[in-house]
C-alpha cells in the first residue's frame, strides 16, 4: 500500500497518532478499500480506538492489493510518535508524508518531505502479526447524544488529572458526570473527594435518551480522544446503553476522516463486588470459519462497524478451526466474559474469569501483549556484583 498525505493534512495524522499513543502501545495500520485505518487498544483491553482516513484525505491512495490478504501491520507506537514528534514542527516543516506498507519485507516506510528540500525517511519493522477489531452493533443502543468537544473538555477540567474512571448518569431530563470511586474500605471512601458535574439538555447538540442509564468508563482514554476532536473543533457523539455494554464515542470530518473510541463499561449489577470488574461483553471477535468460506473473508465495503450506527460487526481475520459465534450464542454467554475482543493468536476463545481491575493496575505489564526489555524501568542499579569472576581460577 502506498499513500501520500498532502501538507495541511499531515498535522491531522500526527495528532491522531498522538491521541492513539495516549491509549495504546502498539499501532495497527490497516489499509482498506475505504481508506487507511489506524488502530490501537489499551493494555487492559478496555478501550479500542480507530481512526479511518478516507482516500479523499490523501493526494495519492494506492492500495496495491496483490493478494486477498490484508497485511497485518503492527508497529511500536513509540516509533510512530517519534516520527511525528512535534505537531508544530510537522505543521511548519513537512510538505508531504508518504507511507508505504511493504508486507513482503514486513516493514513500513514513512518519508517526510520537508521544507528546504530536506527528506526524512523512516523504516519501521512490523511487530509479530496479529489483528485487532472491535465489533459492536450500535443500532440496538437506546441512548445517543452529541456534544461539542470544547464543552466536553471543560467538563473534564473539573475532574482531577489522574481520575481514572467516571460514571455518566444520563436520564431524559438531565445529564450527570461523576468521578468513580472504587469500592475500598469505608475509611478511604469517606475521605475520597466526590465530584459531580451536572449539565442541562440545551448544552448538548443533540440528546436522545430513551432510558436512564449509569455507565462507568475510563476517563483517560476519552480525554485523549476528545483532545483530538477539540484540536479540530469537531463534535463528539456518544452511543450507549446500560452499564456493562460498550459505549462508543465517534467523530468525523465529512468525507476525509472519522474516528471511534469503543470502551468497556462497568456492569452496575456487579458493583456490589469488592473489586469492580471490567465486563465489556458482547464484543467478542466474530471469528471466521476455515478459509473455504472465502466469500466471507473480506470485510465487505459499507459493513464496517466503523462509525455508522446499525452496521454489522467487522469479521475478524481468521485463525482456523474456530467455532462461528452467532449473536444468539454470544447472548447466551456468561456476563463474565473478560475483555472486549480477542487478539488473534493461538489462544482459544475459552471463557475465563477476567482479571480483577486492581490486578490489572498492579500487574499492568503482565497484561501487555508484548514485553520490551528496554521499557523496563526497574532497578538497573546492581546491588551486588557477580559472584562469578572470570579472573578467578
Amino acid at each position: 500500500m502506498k499513500c501520500i498525505i498532502p501538507s495541511p493534512n499531515v498535522k491531522v495524522f500526527a495528532r491522531a497518532i498522538h491521541s492513539l499513543a495516549k491509549i495504546g502501545d502498539e499501532l495497527y495500520l490497516v489499509p482498506q478499500i475505504d481508506g487507511l485505518a489506524l488502530r490501537t487498544i489499551n493494555s487492559s483491553r478496555s478501550a479500542f480506538t480507530s481512526f479511518l482516513f478516507n482516500p479523499a484525505y490523501f493526494s495519492v491512495y494506492d492500495e496495491q492489493k496483490t493478494s486477498d490478504e490484508v497485511p497485518n501491520c503492527k508497529i511500536i507506537m513509540r516509533r510512530a510518535v517519534a516520527i511525528f514528534k512535534s505537531i508544530s514542527q510537522v505543521d511548519r516543516m513537512v510538505e508531504a508524508a508518504c507511507i508505504q506498507i511493504d508486507p513482503s519485507e514486513s516493514q513500513v516506510r514513512i518519508e517526510l518531505r520537508c521544507k528546504f528540500n530536506v527528506t526524512k525517511s523512516y523504516v519501521v519493522p512490523f511487530l509479530e502479526a496479529d489483528t485487532v477489531k472491535a465489533q459492536y452493533d450500535t443500532s440496538e443502543s437506546s441512548n445517543h447524544l452529541d456534544i461539542d468537544s470544547k464543552t466536553l473538555s471543560s467538563v473534564f477540567d473539573s475532574f482531577l488529572q489522574n481520575q481514572e474512571e467516571v460514571t455518566m448518569i444520563a436520564s431524559p431530563g438531565e445529564f450527570k458526570l461523576k468521578n468513580f470511586i472504587e469500592d475500598q474500605d469505608e475509611m478511604s471512601r469517606r475521605h475520597a473527594v466526590s465530584t459531580v458535574f451536572t449539565m442541562k439538555i440545551p448544552e448538548f447538540q443533540s440528546y436522545a435518551i430513551k432510558e436512564t442509564s449509569h455507565v462507568t468508563y475510563c476517563l483517560k482514554e476519552l480525554r485523549s480522544f476528545n483532545g483530538f476532536a477539540e484540536a479540530f473543533s469537531l463534535p463528539l457523539s456518544a452511543t450507549f446503553d446500560v452499564g456493562g455494554k460498550p459505549i462508543v464515542f465517534a467523530l468525523s470530518h465529512e468525507g476525509f476522516y472519522e474516528a471511534a473510541l469503543v470502551m468497556a463499561t462497568i456492569d452496575e449489577n456487579s458493583a456490589t463486588d469488592p473489586i469492580p470488574v471490567n465486563t465489556g461483553e458482547r464484543l467478542l471477535s466474530h471469528v471466521e470459519p476455515p478459509p473455504k468460506a472465502s466469500t466471507q473473508r473480506e470485510p465487505k465495503p459499507g459493513k464496517t462497524s466503523h462509525l455508522t450506527p446499525g452496521v454489522t460487526p467487522i469479521l475478524a481475520k481468521e485463525p482456523l478451526n474456530r467455532e462461528l459465534l452467532t449473536p444468539d450464542v454470544m447472548a447466551e454467554m456468561s456476563m463474565d466474559q473478560g475483555g472486549i475482543w480477542d487478539i488473534e493468536g493461538n489462544e482459544e476463545t475459552v471463557p475465563r474469569s477476567p482479571p480483577s481491575k486492581k490486578a490489572r493496575v498492579v500487574f499492568k505489564r503482565c497484561f501487555d501483549a508484548t514485553f520490551y526489555p528496554q521499557n523496563m524501568t526497574a532497578a538497573t542499579r546492581v546491588l551486588a556484583p557477580d559472584s562469578d569472576d572470570d579472573d578467578e581460577s
Binding site: I76, Q89, N117, Y122, V123
Partner: protein, 271 residues
Amino acid sequence: MVSSVDAGVSLVEAKMSDCKTFALFLKHLHFHEDLCFIFTQHGIKLTTEDSKIFQANAFLQKELFRDYQWHSSLEDGQEIAFDLDLPSLLDAISLFGGTTASLYLRYLEGRPLQVWLEDQGVVVEVHVKVRRPWEPVDFNFVKAAISAKILFAAEHMKEILGDLDGLSEYVEIKIHQERALFQLKTKSAIGDCTIEIPESSELISHFSANEDVEMTYKAFLLKQAFKPVAAAEKVSFRVSPDGLLCIQYMIRMGEVKSFLEFICCPSETSD
C-alpha cells in the same frame, strides 16, 4: 571593586559586560570536567576533551571583552595556560542565575584565577584553583586535507539535527560527491532513520566533496556536538580523509563573531 589583597601584578585582566556569553560557551563544553584555559594575546581559548576521541574548542576573541589587558612583559605569541575544574567555573559564572551580570577575570602568576561578578551593586568574588595545564590533542585539522566541506545555515538545522533517534548508538554521516547529497543515518531496534539534504537545498550555502564520505560516529558524542546549533548563525561540517569530523559554529555576539568547534573521531561498527 577589587577587594582582594593581592598586590601582585596581574598578567591578564579581562572584563566582560555580560557574562552570559561566557556561560554559554562553558555550558557547551560541559561534557567533561577538565577545562584547559588559555589566555592569549588575542583572546581566551577553552578546550575540553573526552578520552582523546572528542574535543571541543571555544574561541572568545578579545573584541568580545569590554576591556582586555595583556601585560607588557609577556611576549608575542606567549600563552598563559592552566587547567581548572569546569563545573566550578561554570557555577561561579552562573552565581547570579540568568541575569546580565558583568564579569571580571584576573590572573596572577601561580595564584588561583580570580572571578568577580557584579550585578546592580552586588559583587561576588570567587577564586578558582588552577592546576598544571595538560596538552590537548592537536588534530591538525586546519592544515589537513579535507575530504568534504559543507556550510549550513544554522537556523533550521536545529530541528533536523535534534531529531536523531535517541536509541541509536551510532550515527552515520554520508556525503555523496556525485549526487551532491548529505545524509545522516541512524539505526536502532525500533527502526532506521535517514535525513537527506541535497546541495540544492536552501540550507546549504557551500558544498564541496573531493570524494565520497561514509563515516560512523558515536551518537552521544554527536548529540553533544549538535547542541550549540540553536545559538549559532552558521555551522560547517568538515571531514578529513581519516574520517575526523569537525563541526564548527559561528556565533554572532553583536558585531563580533565567536567560534565553537567540535572534533570527533570516527568509530568502527560491527556492521
